[in-house]
Symmetry: C2
């Protein structure tokens, strides 16, 4: 599981910082989450392969989360993309992209699918063999979703020595790896646990930006491996967080705690702060494993389920 | 007259180059011409004052000329702009910007006016006391305009010594500077040329991007001080210029020659070329005063009507 931060600041792009966009690598898939102005340049700068992005998830239609989408979609065409591209985002996203393509008389070189979201309940958006993606509602000034990326259970590890001692034929190995028990020709039952060991853990990633503090959202991603949660403000500006429907670093840490998350990444910092270090300090008073997103930072999960960058 | 190039490459933004946008300073006004993705960051990087931009001219609705417009309009609001902003561009530009503002539930903090263009004839778009702006039709794959920025005639210089010797009272000085003759109380006629000298020259700037080679457009900006003309290709790729309705460096130089322009700036280079130096060499074989646009380059006109950067 890797998270390449392309941009993680709120509001306007600046010479030295970018609004929200990130690339999640999970279950051998690359997912682009949000797509602010300048995302395609950030993709180039961070050497993410354009061609590997097949699914784009847009949380909401504020400019600092989606003004780069139409440019990226156009650039895919200029690069002569052929693969399908799927875009998931609030209703209206299709109209605004297609209107711009129509005005430019520049339709895509590839099949482009929009999956418009209107539900106020969690939804399964995508099921692949290795990973499933769900949306869940956030509370912001306009219709907004968070996203949960959950790896499918991974195959159990076969104890070959033990299996062959018990006379299990090769053709049953896959069934055992998938967790089933076995009945041999002689009627003997082989319990799965006798010949297999637990597989690799299945990791998950929850993305919450933008939202006001709402403890109930923690129910949508209990025991998540990595939680990305916005922290636009520090507690000293909690009144602004309430007014603009954003979250403080401390509140984000409370959500991580309630969700029993393994790791918390903070981001979507207001550009009013000269340094982001205080966000970590504030959150760590509530929750232990806090990491700061920053533009161009690449997080990677290690075997102990801790983030490195 | 100053031209701040913000971006001058064709097609997609890259880590090290930007698509088309530039700021023209003429007649004490700042005009933004075209507004590709990333323009607002280029404005910051080049230290152009956001608040001084009151008029934006969009040549056509291809992404590399206008995908940055909605972001800039939004950022003006975040900066709490109060002044009117006027946007001139092809029909459709209003719908696409307002749709995005509506979806974001984020209307502007300032009066925003759209002047949608549909004419296939030259038009006066704006008349200020110091400068006039006209559009003229270009031939590209979609509806496209060039723009001519023309300084108003500047006041003639008064020869004070001569004027007082002839008994001209101070109250007539303004009339003389404006070029009128004078009848004194004693009936004596003072010809304007007797007491005034020519004023500063009035400069002009013509912007042509994107267009196929078309010699007739030179009629729209005869004797222009500075001509910016696209040169997407070199002559070696003239077939691509014809096919995609773009111009070669040599063809752009022919337009400068036909228009009797004083200076030619080339830009809108295809990203296929590793170096842009060949564009200058090719154009100089046709026309003497050729300059290469490049991102972040600031051109300034000197008293001899030559460009410096």
């Amino acid at each position: 599981l890797k998270i390449q931060i392309l941009g993680c600041y709120a509001a306007t792009p600046r010479s030295f910082s970018n609004p929200t966009s990130q690339v999640l690598e999970i279950g051998n898939e690359l997912f682009l989450i949000d797509c602010a102005e300048g995302t395609q340049v950030q993709i180039r700068k961070n050497k993410v392969k354009f061609s590997k992005i097949n699914h784009i998830f847009i949380s909401h239609l504020h400019g600092d989360h989606f003004f780069g989408l139409v440019g990226l979609i156009s650039t895919f065409s200029l690069l002569n993309r052929q693969n399908e591209l799927h875009v998931y985002g609030p209703k209206g996203i299709k109209e605004v992209v297609l209107l711009q393509l129509r005005l430019a008389d520049a339709y895509t070189s590839y099949p482009l699918f929009f999956h418009e979201l209107t539900s106020s309940e969690p939804q399964v958006l995508l099921q692949l063999s290795t990973v499933e993606v769900r949306s869940f509602p956030l509370k912001h000034r306009i219709y907004t979703n968070g996203f949960l990326f959950q790896e499918m259970p991974k195959p159990r590890k076969l104890d070959f020595e033990c299996a062959s001692k018990l006379g299990v034929e090769t053709c049953y190995f896959q069934k055992l790896k998938s967790g089933f028990d076995l009945v041999l020709d002689n009627g003997k039952i082989i319990k799965n646990e006798e010949v297999t060991l637990p597989g690799l853990p299945s990791w998950s990633y929850a993305y919450c930006s933008d939202t006001v503090y709402d403890s109930s959202i923690a129910n949508y991603f209990q025991n998540v491996t990595v939680l990305y949660h916005e922290s636009t403000f520090l507690e000293s500006e909690a009144h602004l967080a309430t007014r603009t429907l954003h979250t403080t670093a401390s509140q984000a840490a409370h959500i991580a705690q309630l969700a029993k998350a393994k790791n918390l990444i903070l981001g979507h910092y207001s550009t009013r702060y000269a340094s982001i270090q205080a966000f970590k300090t504030e959150a760590e008073a509530v929750f232990p494993n806090v990491y700061l997103a920053d533009d161009a930072r690449l997080f990677e999960l290690d075997d102990q389920e801790r983030l490195k960058y």
